[in-house]
Amino acid sequence: MTALADTELETETEELTVREAIRQAMREELRRDEDVFLIGEDIGVFGGVLEVTGDLYEEFGPERIKDTPISEAGFMGAATGAAATGTRPVVELMFSDFAGVAMEQIMNQMAKMRYMFGGKAEMPVTVRTTEGGGMGAASQHSGTIHSWIAHFPGLHAVAPGTPAAAKGLTKAAIRSDDPVFVFENKMIYEQKGQVPTDEDFTIPLGEAAVEREGEDVTVVATQRLVGESLQTAEGMADDVDVEVIDPRSLYPLDTETIVESVRKTGRLIVADESPLSYGTHAEIIARVQEEAFFSLDAPIQRVGTPDTHMPFSPPLEQEVLPTGEDVRNAIGRVT
């Protein structure tokens, strides 16, 4: 279950933003392992469009912070080939929407090589990418696509909701010998929180965190919706005792922690920014009903994007973007 109780609180912590936590994770792993390098568009002198790689170029230079031409299929393929031949690339895919350009390399090469080759290919590659609406970036720069990747056999997908998760998951991803996609919600880069300073702090893939304990209803929330669900839970604390779980890792998914919680509360809300049909919500709900059907006291609710793209105009974007308010309404429907 949650690593929070066991290790995270015992170590020393410092306050970091999500952005700083990810950068620190990369800095530490670049220092620790010579085989690790970063590759992507404008991640060097420019520092990344959302400033995540920042000053890493100053310390590590162009050999290890590699600026590429604008060629997502090309560098996704190059990272795949590099990972298969002895190095540990960390790709920055500027916006997750651009996975469309690189999808062939992701789904037919990166994900399948080890399997197709009878286990005779290594694939220690990390792909960091940004997701989410909320900054008026319109449909081609605001997508939440993690359900595609989590769906695809051979790939891991993680999606941090806190600075600690951001650091621990990024480090675990880089140390993993399998392809791991790290989905960073672009609206929470400035969110602050306590992060362990221990350079060996990682969050194993497949471990959820109970971010708030409660007795009445379980909210499984991801990314930006973790913080917003926690706020909602505090706001409703007089009426209903809400448990908030950040699965952190979408694939593998910590089914046990979620199921245990639903056995206790009998109610479940799944809040994730991806479109509602055929996705992350459905997977979590399917697992819960397989394991804990008879513990349920109310229909499971889901909060997500209502099967539209992310529109540009702020009133439209606000309309379709799932928020803590939607989580509150969902809780209201079942308690």
Partner: protein, 348 residues
């Protein structure tokens, strides 16, 4: 629709006016973005006006263009109305896309403008596709795909040019070489020195022209258009130009220095063309001042229009996903819009 060419005095004056309009529009858009009125990203075309205007001057009104993320200039060159463009940048219901697209996705297919595009390199396949329907239906048009120097590195650009070349489609690929893709200089993105040399791989003509000179661009595109209409297939025109502003507004530009910017500004496309018209006795400084004042009034009116236009209604968020709406969206929208109430589903 835009119907102007550089062969007549009136056409040249129109072209100058369009360049001035592009600059005034983008300067205003930059200011309004800085003021926080315009959401999202804006990529300004200032400095590159001669490329869009020179290209569109060589086109007929019903030709197509497929644009890029840096699309405001292409829109104005093609004849779109700054008023509805500005409303789109503001995310208003009266904008070209009813506020759903914004700066990076402005489009007016009826005007032959197939859209700005948030995906680098996605314009050329669109142009190849438009050229395909022109060819298929024996229509008397061409399609231009604009792309940046950075976009030349995209796989789909190669595929689009190759298809158009192999099938002799009436397409023209205009590379706007402004010497940077975001912060990365062109020589760090490509092994060739001259991007139009890539044309050799497709056995089509490739030329490089001075993109600060509207006439040079117009001549090259006119030639490419002639070839396309004769059924001989596509061409690549590379226009060497420069963006004066950052990649997008807010770019701190750690990758270049002021001296470089000043060198390019000394060859400003508007100043040069204006001076040429004055030398030819087609324009006076006073007339130019009047023209500039008129344009500024037009842009002010566009901002006024955009500010006063209505926001889209929240319900519009659910429109336009399909021609025929599936029930899911309505169902999810209704659920999202109910506060509390029924939980749905069977009761035990």
């Amino acid at each position: 629709m835009a119907d102007y060419d550089l062969q007549s005095e009136a056409g040249r004056r129109d072209a100058l006016r369009r360049m001035v309009t592009i600059r005034a529009f983008d300067e205003e858009a930059g200011d309004r973005f800085a003021d926080g009125e315009i959401p999202g990203f804006v990529h300004l075309y200032i400095g590159e006006e001669a490329v869009g205007v020179g290209t569109c001057a060589a086109l007929e009104p019903d030709d197509y263009i497929a644009s890029t993320h840096r699309g405001h200039g292409h829109c104005i060159a093609k004849g779109l109305d700054p008023k509805y463009m500005m409303a789109e940048l503001y995310g208003k219901a009266d904008g070209y896309c009813n506020g759903k697209g914004g700066s990076m996705h402005i489009a007016d297919v009826d005007e032959g403008m197939l859209g700005a595009n948030g995906i680098v390199g996605a314009g050329p396949p669109m142009a190849t596709g438009a050229a395909l329907s022109i060819d298929y239906q024996d229509r008397d048009q061409v399609a231009v795909g604009f792309l940046g120097d950075g976009a030349v590195a995209q796989g789909q650009v190669h595929e689009a040019v190759n298809i158009a070349a192999t099938w002799d489609l009436p397409a023209i690929f205009v590379i706007e070489n402004n010497h940077y893709g975001e912060g990365t200089p062109v020589e760090k993105q490509h092994n060739v020195d001259t991007l139009s040399d890539t044309a050799q791989a497709y056995d089509i003509p490739g030329v490089t022209v001075d993109g600060m000179d509207v006439t040079a661009v117009e001549e090259a595109v006119a030639k490419a258009r002639e070839r396309a209409r004769a059924g001989d297939g596509p061409s690549i025109v590379e226009a060497e130009t420069y963006r004066y502003r950052g990649h997008y507004e807010g770019d701190e530009e750690p990758y270049r220095d002021d001296a470089e910017i000043e060198r390019w500004k000394a060859r400003d496309p508007i100043e040069t063309f204006k001076d040429r018209l004055i030398d030819r006795g087609e324009l006076t400084e006073d007339e130019f001042d009047d023209l500039q004042a008129e344009v500024e009034a037009e842009i002010d009116a566009a901002v006024e229009f955009a500010l006063e236009a209505d926001d889209p209604t929240p319900e519009q968020a659910y429109e336009d996903m399909f021609a025929e709406m599936p029930p899911e969206i309505d169902r999810f929208a209704t659920a999202a819009r109910t506060d509390g109430g029924e939980s749905g589903g069977d009761r035990r």
